[in-house]
């Protein structure tokens, strides 16, 4: 059993319950007023009905009882009274003579014995009012209606024209009261009708309230359940939990609200994803910048140290004769130094410590050259095809850097296909624009770009490491098989050229690298496609 406090709390928290309570109160008030009005009207109508019936019965009895009263014949009076007593509401019949002496009484079984007012204190007063055939006295008591009517006889006027010759109409006849008839109509029937009316209107009111509550509950449910769903998802959103689309199939306001919520959800999700990617991109950029700074910092010192070692090794080599068996050791040292210098160069390249001259360069030309070089190296197991654009793709870059980019990517692709495969290189022009929602594809700023895609049919990149492939020293190869700097260098070069690179991969299917480098001229550019957010 809920306490009052709990009930009130529940009420405060439930719009549906408030609505139901309001409906119940209104319905009770309305039904109550209607029922009262109906009962009052029924009561009035029933009373009028009883009065009309009573008056009619009394008229009939007064007429029928004339001879019985005149003769003071009990049998005659009984026969006319019985006819009246058969009527359901009639409780008793009294017949009195003109002096209010009772000639006849008969009543049905009742809780109490009926009494006639003509036998009471008000008899004279009542009789004084009842002097013509049209007069009737109706008195309402607690339990009954009493109808009293005089029984009149019409006598001829005391003149010869009427008595001897039958002249003159009814209006000349003289009425004389011979007696009185009284009919008592029991009110219990009236009360039964009223009770029945009250019960039926009450039941009807309850039925209306019951049906109304059910209907309102259904309607409210239709409103509150979707609102609950929406509020749950909003709470999840606030807590940063995973939120789902709210499925509400309706075209009304609730449906439109849900649709708006879902749209907002999608927008937030997309923006969150974009933000996350931006943050990752920024994080990577910072990471790479940090690595680059470190690399720049140590490469010079390292170069110097290597220079010292290389010089000493040179001197040592010179001192040793060519056929000396110790000659191989300085050679090994020299080889190692070369590798070390190469590693430092890569680092410096990555860190952008080396400033190269940037000139207009046609990407297609660079790619062709890179393909030629790679073909020579991998033609035994990798097929390289290209779909290069007809027009030149002029960018401001260093040909050496661009060569390195494509060489590293192609090389990486070939390494991803140890059992052979196919590499497809596509170039073109791309105009990146904002979509209708103001979004950019992969956050690439709106501009005209030279577009390059390099697709392989290799092992693919697992999703969990896709974001790390551009990190320095990240490699999936065995130790000693790769430095982990190749893609980092690619990333660094492309970024330096104000370009953008991203990858899409399906494990066991292949990988595609997408590179966007700003084109030099914009006015004559006819883009092949416009990148829009899907």
């Amino acid at each position: 059993m809920m306490s009052t406090e709990e009930c009130l709390t529940y009420l405060r928290r439930s719009f549906g319950l408030k609505l139901i309570l309001v409906f119940i109160v209104l319905a009770i008030l309305l039904q109550g007023a209607t029922s009262l009005w109906i009962v009052a009207r029924e009561d009035r109508a029933a009373k009028e009905d009883i009065i009309n019936r009573g008056s009619m019965l009394t008229d009939t009895l007064a007429y029928s009882a004339r001879n019985g009263i005149f003769s003071e014949n009990n049998e005659m009076l009984q026969s006319v009274a019985e006819g009246v007593l058969r009527q359901g509401e009639v409780g008793a019949v009294f017949i009195h003579n003109m002096d209010a002496r009772r000639l006849f009484k008969q009543q049905k079984k009742a809780v109490y014995a009926y009494k006639s007012l003509l036998e009471g204190e008000s008899s004279a007063a009542i009789r004084s009012k009842l002097t013509t055939a049209q007069s009737t006295e109706i008195v309402e008591t607690l339990y009954s209606f009493e109808f009293i009517k005089p029984v009149v006889m019409k006598f001829l006027p005391d003149n010869e024209s009427a008595i001897f010759f039958g002249q003159g109409g009814d209006e000349e006849k003289i009425e004389k009261v011979m007696g009185y008839v009284t009919i008592v109509m029991d009110k219990s029937i009236l009360k039964r009708r009223m009770t029945s009316s009250i019960v039926s209107t009450g039941l009807m009111a309850l039925a209306v309230i019951f049906v109304g509550v059910i209907l309102i509950s259904l309607i409210i449910r239709r409103v509150t359940v979707p609102l609950d769903k929406l509020s749950q998802e909003v709470r999840k959103l606030g807590k940063g939990e995973k939120i789902n689309r709210v499925s509400i199939d309706s075209q009304d306001e609730i449906g439109r609200l849900a649709e708006s919520f879902n749209t907002m959800l999608e927008d937030l999700t997309m923006k969150e994803t974009q933000t996350r990617k931006l943050e990752e991109h920024l994080s990577n950029s910072r990471k790479m910048e940090a690595v680059g700074t470190l690399a720049r910092g140590i490469s010079h010192d390292f170069n110097n140290i290597l220079g010292t070692i290389e010089g000493s090794v040179y001197m040592l080599q010179k001192k040793l004769e060519n056929d000396n068996l110790l000659q191989k050791y300085p050679q090994r040292i020299h080889n190692s130094i070369s590798k070390a210098r190469g590693l430092i160069d890569s680092l410096l390249t990555f860190s952008q410590g080396q400033k190269l001259q940037l000139v207009p360069v046609d990407i297609n030309t660079i790619i062709r050259e890179s393909i030629d070089v790679m073909m020579a190296k991998y033609e035994d197991r990798v097929e390289i095809s290209s779909e290069l654009s007809d027009r030149k793709l002029m960018v401001i870059a260093s040909s050496i850097q661009l060569s390195q980019v494509f060489s590293n990517i192609i090389s990486n692709a070939c390494d991803a296909m140890p059992l052979g495969g196919r590499i497809t290189i596509v170039t073109g022009e791309r105009a990146v624009v904002e979509d209708a929602q103001g979004n950019l594809h992969h956050n690439i700023p709106a501009a005209h770009y030279a577009f390059v895609s390099v697709a392989d049919t290799g092992e693919g990149i697992p999703e969990e490491i896709k974001d790390k492939i551009f990190e320095p020293f990240f490699t999936t190869k065995e130790v000693g098989k790769g430095t982990g700097l190749g893609l980092s260098i690619v990333y660094g070069i492309v970024t330096e050229l104000n370009g953008h690179i991203y990858v899409e991969s399906i494990p066991s299917k292949g990988t595609i690298f997408f590179i966007y480098i700003p084109l030099i001229s914009n006015s004559d550019l006819q883009p092949d496609t416009e990148e829009t957010i899907a």
Partner: protein
């Protein structure tokens, strides 16, 4: 010859003739009897009565004034015109003139109840009641086996009449059971008492018990007990009474005119009431048959049968 002579010669014969008749004319003018008439209404019985009066009164009916217009001023005017008599036709007319003392007042077609008090010496008339003798004679004729008659009357209005009937009936060997009715509601009790003690029920003209409902009660008694009703008006015979002796308005008027003529020629010696003479016997043979009453054929032939 002078002018006067010429006029005398020319018109003298005419003058002489006229002069010879002057006494006769004067005498004739001196003996014209004028009667002013006040009439209750224009119903046929009144007109018949007046006609009868005219035929026998040997008088001039100078004017006929409706009783409704006979205001005291009009009555005064009539009196001032010094008629030889005032005739009241009907009870309402009689009430207008019954207090006149200076002019002879005659009445016809007036209810017996209006004539209860002793009449002034200048008042004469004919009652609407048939004489007890004539009524009893009619009863004997129609109901020869009647021995006991229940006489329904109002003692306040018809005591003398009832007494007279009773006395006369005794002489004829008929018992009269006096059924005094002051209020209509006494009738059932009286009838119960009468029961099978009477052979005939005689209904006198009285408004006390002349009511459709009361008459129905009388009829019920009559049929149940096979006691025929003898009454005073055709109206009731048509409704179920067996016989009545009706007054004849014209005859009553004649009778009144004769009285007037007599009174006009003699010094009036006091007011008097005269029973109506003549009368018409009315019977309902169908009712009689139903009640098992045999009426002689000659009586039926003589009477007016409503069947």
């Amino acid at each position: 010859m002078g002018i006067y002579s010429r006029l005398l010669l020319r018109y003298g014969r005419t003058i002489i003739i006229i002069a010879a008749f002057l006494p006769i004319i004067a005498a004739t003018s001196a003996h014209a009897i004028k009667v002013a008439v006040i009439k209750s209404s224009d119903i046929k019985p009144y007109s018949e009565a007046l006609e009868g009066f005219r035929n026998s009164c040997d008088c001039d009916v100078s004017e006929i004034i409706p009783a409704s217009q006979a205001s005291p001023a009009i009555i005064e005017g009539i009196i001032k015109s010094a008629p030889d008599g005032i005739l009241a036709v009907g009870s309402e007319a009689y009430r207008k003139v019954k207090s006149i003392k200076t002019v002879p007042v005659f009445y016809v077609m007036v209810m017996p109840s209006e004539l209860m008090a002793p009449l002034p010496h200048n008042t004469y008339g004919v009652s609407m009641e048939m004489s007890p003798k004539a009524s009893l004679a009619a009863i004997r004729e129609v109901f020869p086996k009647t021995e006991k008659i229940g006489l329904l009357f109002n003692p306040a209005k018809s005591r003398h009449y009832a007494f007279e009937i009773s006395e006369l009936a005794k002489n004829l060997g008929i018992d009269i059971l006096m059924l005094e009715v002051s209020e209509a509601n006494q009738i059932p009790l009286l009838l119960n008492k009468a029961g099978n003690r009477i052979d005939l029920l005689w209904m006198t003209p009285d408004a006390t018990f002349i009511s459709p409902d009361v008459f129905d009660r009388l009829l019920s008694f009559s049929f149940e007990n096979k006691v025929p009703i003898f009454t005073f008006s055709r109206k009731y015979v048509e409704k179920g009474a067996v016989a009545s002796l009706d007054i004849n308005p014209h005859e009553v008027g004649l009778q009144a005119g004769e009285i007037f003529r007599t009174a006009a020629n003699k010094v009036p010696k006091g007011g008097g009431k005269t029973y109506a003479r003549g009368g018409s016997l009315i019977i309902n043979s169908k009712i009689a048959r139903k009640m098992g009453i045999k009426i002689k054929n000659e009586v039926i032939r003589k009477a007016d049968d409503v069947d």
